[in-house]
């Protein structure tokens, strides 16, 4: 990865993270705003390698865990696994098509919610159907058009 591409990736990641925290933390939009942290991680993990993707995932996860009262670490685990998984897809899929991007973002977000649900203590989580299938499905669908738009604007998510 060239240094200009690398700089662009980190810039996009930083912008998405800032926007995510503004919408979710500052403006308390919760489900009304897309999960831009996950989107940034998904797009970046295919560019920056497995180790960095895992580290970025851990960092994002700790950021979210710092704001969650219960089950500290659940977001860290989910995001780290997502970062590793996203980076590994580079070896499996070339990923130059729009269909791949849509599937990748949808499955990535849904998987992140699934792992988070699994990592959360069983006494504190919502029912699987409600949290993962319904809420997670809706959030994943919501993230897809946002992901496509970001990928189009930034050029991330395409094979170089």
């Amino acid at each position: 990865m060239s240094s200009s591409v690398s700089a662009r990736v980190w810039l996009v990641v930083a912008l998405l993270a800032t926007l995510h925290l503004l919408l979710h933390v500052s403006f308390s939009m919760d489900g009304g705003a897309p999960d831009l942290l996950t989107l940034g991680l998904l797009l970046a993990s295919r560019e920056i390698g497995t180790g960095r993707a895992a580290s970025l995932g851990l960092f994002w996860g700790l950021l979210e865990d710092a704001l969650s009262v219960l089950s500290f670490g659940a977001n860290s685990v989910a995001m780290t696994i997502l970062g590793i998984g996203g980076a590994l897809t580079r070896d499996l899929f070339v990923g130059d098509s729009r269909f791949f991007l849509v599937s990748y973002v949808f499955i990535g977000k849904w998987t992140r919610d699934l792992f988070h649900w699994i990592a959360v203590d069983s006494g504190q989580r919502q029912p699987f159907v409600e949290e993962v299938l319904v809420d997670g499905g809706i959030a994943s669908l919501y993230l897809v058009p946002v992901g496509v738009l970001v990928a189009m604007v930034t050029g991330l998510g395409r094979d170089k």
């Binding site: 925290l21 503004l22 933390v25 500052s26 403006f27 308390s28 390698g49 497995t50 180790g51 960095r52 993707a53 895992a54 580290s55 995932g57 851990l58 996860g61 700790l62 950021l63 865990d65 710092a66 704001l67 089950s71 500290f72 670490g73 659940a74 860290s76 685990v77 995001m79 780290t80 696994i81 970062g83 590793i84 980076a87 990592a119």
Partner: protein
């Protein structure tokens, strides 16, 4: 050249996977840290990376709460204003009714209490309805009075309702005199440039007769329609003189017909002396709030 030299790419790959594994272990270990350690890590993030965002949220919340407080205070002020307005109207009506009750006791059964209704339609200015009629003993020309004095006269009588006109009507006339009987005349309406400027005038005073300012004017009983002694108003300056034989005075009326809601109406069993009904103190009370206009 060794046949199976390690590939740099493969080495890099292994290192990446190793780092990823270590990071994954760290992530899992975060779940099993003690509560205190978890709080320490959370605190570091909250006071560093997340601080600007939580500050914005805090300021937004403070602004929102201030907005809610302002809205609540505005609602409270509106409610209090409404309550005060309603309260003032109720107090005013209560006072009128109390005065009317006292007047009714002095006047006796020949005066029937009634509620005044204003049609409020164009052309019906100066006219009003009362909820008593022929069945209650009313007749055409019955005097309509309030605690402060004369309001008007009944023009049309139906079985349970009657139509009256107040002193702002162009046809209104009443025989009047200075309370001590020193001068007699006719009180009628003088039309102002607009309705609120309508005034009463005491006409027909002999030119050589001097009427002191602020003399009380009451009905004279002349003509047999209005009983003698109903207060009308108080004289002001001279309005007009006709030659050297007659002059007229402005009158400051005791009653504002527009604000009248409850009245007494004279019935057939008329006592032609109403002087005892309005003793001096009641007129003095009316004097405290003289009326300058007569819009209704």
């Amino acid at each position: 050249m060794p046949p199976y030299a390690p590939e740099p790419e493969s080495n890099g790959r292994q290192r990446e996977l190793f780092v990823a594994g270590v990071v994954l272990v760290l992530a899992f270990s975060a779940m099993f840290l003690s509560g205190g350690s978890q709080q320490q890590i959370a605190g570091v993030f909250q006071t560093s990376f997340l601080r600007p965002f939580t500050e914005v949220q805090l300021r937004r919340e403070v602004a929102r709460l201030r907005g809610v407080a302002v809205e609540d205070m505005r609602s409270l002020v509106d409610s209090l204003t409404l309550m005060l307005i309603t309260h003032a109207a109720v107090v005013d009506e209560n006072e009128t009714l109390r005065e009317l009750l006292v007047l009714g006791e002095r006047a006796g059964a020949q005066y029937r209490p009634a509620t005044v209704l204003r049609p409020g339609t164009p052309g019906s200015e100066s006219m009003f309805l009362v909820d008593v009629g022929a069945e209650d003993g009313l007749r055409q020309g019955s005097a309509v009075v309030g605690p402060a004095g004369l309001i008007g006269v009944i023009r049309e009588v139906r079985s349970r309702q009657a139509v009256g006109m107040d002193w702002t009507h162009p046809d209104f006339r009443v025989g009047a005199m200075i309370e001590d009987g020193s001068a007699y005349g006719l009180v009628e309406r003088w039309e102002g440039e607009f309705r609120e400027a309508d005034r009463l005038v005491l006409n027909g005073i002999a030119f050589n007769q001097s009427v002191a300012r602020s003399s009380r004017v009451v009905t004279s009983g002349a003509g047999g329609i209005f009983p003698r002694g109903i207060p009308i108003g108080r004289t002001q300056e001279v309005f007009d003189t006709e030659g050297s034989w007659r002059k007229s005075y402005w009158l400051d009326p005791f009653v504002d017909p527009a604000s009248t809601t409850h009245v007494l109406v004279l019935t057939r069993d008329v006592d032609l002396d109403a002087t005892r009904i309005w003793p001096g103190d009641s007129i003095a009370a009316a004097d405290r709030a003289p009326v300058s206009g007569g819009a209704s």
